[in-house]
């Protein structure tokens, strides 16, 4: 029998990496994985730490916080407290994946399957990434941002730039549109916008006109009662557009942080799915290679060791328990969907009538494209998996002296458990819901934010620090009101801008 092995041994070469990429691409095509073109980059451990601390971006503007991150990553790595991730992958077109030079050949193959095909196809397919990120232009935008920030530093001083960036970073999770979707502009809107810009410029030019007495001023025409008319969810956008005292370059910095926050927002919403999907595919693709006789037993043993480590899920009472492992949950759910399609039980047929017996590749693809963590769990977490993982939910109510076991993996608990787990991955639940409520345009120009409490959860006292950053950007007093679900203001924090 002729051997079809791609390699034996664990030393990698560029040729072998290329061959593995082609082999995996061939198998991936069988499963109809749709990916951006791949760009695989070999980096050293130090460069990996570099990439780590600049949130994985290949280029980025300079900021002390990245230095801090680098120092702490480096030190933990040196002390052996953490291993580095085997890969970092960037949602760009072509899709850039970093491979560490220290990895063995089977690890490189695993990483290629995981990142260059798993994550890559997720970036290309998932609706959040399609809607919110522009993979074609992100590298260009990062370059622009880096150069713009550098330019500002030269003109206005490093400290001034740093102050604005600090404040923006404090608000970056509130620099994203959560509800609104970007709608393509119609020609009509485009025209309206253009006219508006023109009028604005005109108004700026004709400053003198304002000094003329208005002939038929109508004194009873009071200024608009409230501003903004509707609460605004995107704090940074609101600040960029409406903060009274910011200079144009400062607004542009706000915009850069906001744009980047928006770019990363889908990744924060699809942790389980993204990792689950990538893990599922490296498992499936490499197993297929093994079945075809293209990798040997030694390769599979090393691969399975790593794979098992990645998807390890210690129980809640285990010393190393640190919450639910997104790789484990995601992988288990993806495998579970495959199982339900291929070998449904009666229970599965009752819970997932559409999945049972369907084509698993198409079903998984549909799930990948159209869900985020929260909705994915709400839709696909099966009773069988809840039993397998022995999930249970604990209710911590500060009015009670004891914790309550709210639901466990049993008939009466499945739905509650599933909803609770889904909520756990809902950013709107995890993070305080804060929106722009009022601007006192005629008085002291103060800005009022509102925190809509959910389940009576208050803001942390340390939020006062974040509020000071809002005040720095806004330039006038800022307050935040915590509002109970019934609509009464529970607490108010205030901050004054520093001058």
């Amino acid at each position: 029998m002729r051997t079809r092995l791609i390699s034996t041994g664990s030393e990698w070469t560029f040729d072998l990496i290329g061959e593995y990429e082609r082999a995996i691409a061939g198998v991936a095509a069988d499963f109809r994985l749709d990916t951006y073109p791949n760009q695989i980059e070999i980096v050293s451990a130090e460069q990996m730490m570099d990439a780590y601390s600049s949130v994985g971006m290949p280029v980025g503007y300079s900021h002390w916080s990245y230095g801090k991150e680098f120092v702490s990553v480096e030190q933990r790595y040196r002390r052996g407290e953490m291993g580095l991730a085997y890969e970092i992958v960037i949602n760009s077109n072509p899709c850039i994946a970093y491979l560490m030079e220290e990895n063995t050949l089977p690890m490189q193959a695993l990483v290629i399957a995981h990142a260059s095909f798993g994550h890559n196809s997720f970036f290309k397919g998932n609706y959040l990434f399609r809607t919110w990120t522009a993979a074609d232009s992100i590298i260009d935008y990062l370059l622009f941002a880096r150069d713009y920030v550098r330019d500002c530093e030269q003109r206005h001083g490093e400290e001034a730039v740093e102050a604005v960036l600090d404040s923006c970073h404090a608000l970056r999770h509130y620099g994203v549109d959560r509800c609104k979707r970007p709608a393509p502009l119609s020609p009509l809107q485009e025209q309206a916008r253009q006219r508006q810009r023109e009028a604005q410029q005109q108004a700026a030019v004709n400053e003198l006109w304002r000094t003329l007495p208005q002939r038929d001023a109508t004194p009873d025409q009071a200024p608009a009662a409230v501003f903004p008319e509707e609460p605004q969810e995107n704090l940074l956008y609101f600040i960029e557009k409406h903060a009274p005292l910011l200079a144009p370059w400062q607004r542009e910095l706000v915009r850069i942080v906001r744009k980047l926050a928006q770019y990363f927002h889908p990744q924060r919403q699809t942790q389980i799915m993204n990792e689950g999907w990538a893990t599922f595919w490296h498992y499936t693709l490499l197993n297929r290679l093994y079945d075809e006789g293209r990798v040997d037993d030694a390769f599979m043993l090393e691969f399975l060791t790593s794979h098992t480590n990645v998807i390890a899920q210690p129980g809640f009472d285990h010393p190393r328990y640190g919450g639910i492992n997104p790789y484990a949950l995601g992988f288990a759910m993806m495998r579970d969907i495959q199982r339900i399609c291929e070998a449904p039980t009666a229970e599965d047929r009752a819970w997932f009538p559409d999945l049972a017996g369907a084509d698993w590749v198409a079903s998984l693809d549909f799930a990948m494209r159209n869900y985020k963590d929260e909705s994915f769990i709400a839709q696909y977490l099966s009773p069988r998996l809840m039993r397998d993982m022995r999930l249970f939910s604990i209710l911590d109510d500060d009015r009670q002296d004891e914790y309550e076991v709210a639901a466990i993996h049993e008939d009466s608990g499945y739905r509650r458990l599933r909803a609770a787990l889904a909520a756990q991955y809902d950013l709107a639940v995890r993070e305080p819901a804060i929106e722009v409520w009022r601007v006192d345009r005629t008085g002291d120009r103060s800005l009022t934010l509102r925190h809509r409490q959910r389940a009576r959860r208050p803001l942390a006292p340390a939020s006062a620090d974040a509020l000071r950053h809002v005040a720095r950007l806004w330039g006038f007093p800022v307050r935040i009101e915590s509002v109970s679900p019934e609509g009464s203001v529970e607490s108010v924090l205030e901050a004054q801008p520093l001058h």
Binding site: V43, G67, Q75, A466
Partner: protein
């Protein structure tokens, strides 16, 4: 597409690290000051671990505080059933559901290790060193080129003639060897043919063959470019010699902690300067009031005596130590003296005499600092007279750390490595 990125940009984050250092300069400065006080003089020349409190470094953001209702799902249920009630752990997290602390305020300090360069940078900061000097102190000493055999490439001035001719001879021998055999045979057959009286054509043919072989042999060049050998030189770190640094400190009652601290910085700086120039430096600590004694570094800076001051006691002890332990020209001797200027009146001329007669001729450099006490006393006047005639005696009154450096200005102008031994 596969790209090898290992070669470019190793320190992409260096600028971010520098920003981070700048931002926490105050904490770092404090840590460096503490370290300088804690460390030995010989030990300043390395990095330092700095702990920065987490709360100073955390980047704030809006998040939930404790309270309200929260529900969390965990894996690995063993015996719980719905409706069970469990006691809440008292006093903070722990127990069953280890919930990550939401407020991000851990107790651990953020540990940061200053590199040697960063440490020295901050140490030098309030010493007001010129940048050039800082750079020289922070860099590793220069190299010297030394012979290291021969190479086949080089510049014409480095050609080694003997080696080149040797290899030319070897090449000629090697290239000519087979032809020489042929030539010998051809000559033999020519002679044989001639002797046998063969037909003239055959003889001429043989003669032509001999000619041809001779010409071929001549065509092997006498000297070819591949024969050339050049003297090879490589850069080696400059071999430096040994030095002794004498630290003389007045420990009479008037020297308080702040004066001692300035003195310590003065000694430390001299040590750093010298450590650039010499591989090995021995430190001799001599403290004195009315009597001088050689002590360890710890005692040198910690102990404090009272009483009067006789400076010459220290100088003569120094002289004695030099005679006993560092005779001859094997050692570069440096002296550094810190005092508040008090001295018994009739002792100052003795000091100047000792310096002039026995010490200064043997010393590379002697630096005297008068800590505080801005009035000029006997010792100062005597030294000033001496300094006018001996340029390697430097003296300075020092009120703050920033005044220390000028003392060394002359030392730098003179480049200690080139100084006569």
């Amino acid at each position: 597409m596969i790209v090898d990125r290992r070669l470019n940009g190793r320190h992409r984050n260096a600028v971010n690290r520098a920003r981070f250092v700048r931002r926490y300069k105050d904490q770092l400065r404090r840590a460096v000051a503490e370290a300088v006080g804690r460390r030995s003089i010989t030990d300043l020349d390395r990095g330092e671990r700095v702990d920065i409190q987490r709360k100073d470094i955390v980047e704030p953001y809006f998040h939930h505080g404790p309270g309200g209702e929260r529900e969390a799902v965990h894996p690995g249920n063993k015996e719980f059933s719905a409706g069970d009630r469990l006691p809440k752990p008292q006093g903070g997290a722990g127990g069953g559901g280890s919930q990550a602390s939401q407020d991000g305020e851990g107790e651990d300090d953020f540990v940061f290790v200053l590199s040697r360069e960063e440490f020295l940078e901050i140490f030098f900061e309030d010493l007001a060193l010129p940048d050039l000097v800082k750079k020289r102190l922070a860099t590793i000493p220069s190299t010297r080129s030394v012979r290291a055999g021969y190479t086949q490439t080089g510049v014409p001035t480095n050609v080694n003639i003997i080696r080149s001719l040797k290899s030319a001879a070897a090449r000629r021998r090697a290239l000519q060897a087979p032809r020489r055999g042929e030539l010998a045979r051809a000559e033999e057959s020519f002679c044989a043919l001639e002797a046998a009286g063969s037909p003239p054509e055959a003889v001429r043919e043989a003669e032509r063959e001999v000619e041809r072989l001779r010409r071929r042999l001549q065509r092997v060049p006498f000297l070819d470019t591949i024969d050339l050998r050049y003297n090879n030189r490589v850069q080696r770190p400059q071999p430096t010699t040994q030095a002794v640094m004498f630290c003389l400190l007045d420990v009479s009652g008037s020297m308080d902690e702040s004066r001692k601290d300035i003195a310590k910085r003065f000694f430390a700086l001299l040590y750093l300067f010298l450590s650039r120039a010499y591989d090995r430096i021995e430190l001799v600590f001599i403290r004195h009031h009315t009597q001088a004694a050689e002590v360890t570094e710890d005692e040198f800076f910690s102990a404090r005596d009272t009483g009067g001051t006789i400076v010459s006691s220290a100088l003569s002890l120094m002289d004695q130590i030099i005679r006993e332990r560092y005779p001859g020209n094997d050692w570069n001797l440096y002296g550094a003296q810190a005092s508040d200027g008090d001295n018994w009146l009739d002792d100052s001329p003795r000091c100047a005499g000792l310096l002039r007669e026995s010490l200064l001729p043997r010393l590379q450099y002697f630096a005297y600092v008068q800590v505080a006490a801005l009035d000029e006393q006997g010792l100062w006047r005597e030294y000033a007279k001496l300094a006018a005639e001996r340029p390697h005696l430097a003296m300075r009154k020092i009120a703050s750390a920033a005044d220390i450096y000028p003392v060394f200005r002359a030392l730098f102008a003179r480049q200690p490595t080139c100084a006569p031994a």
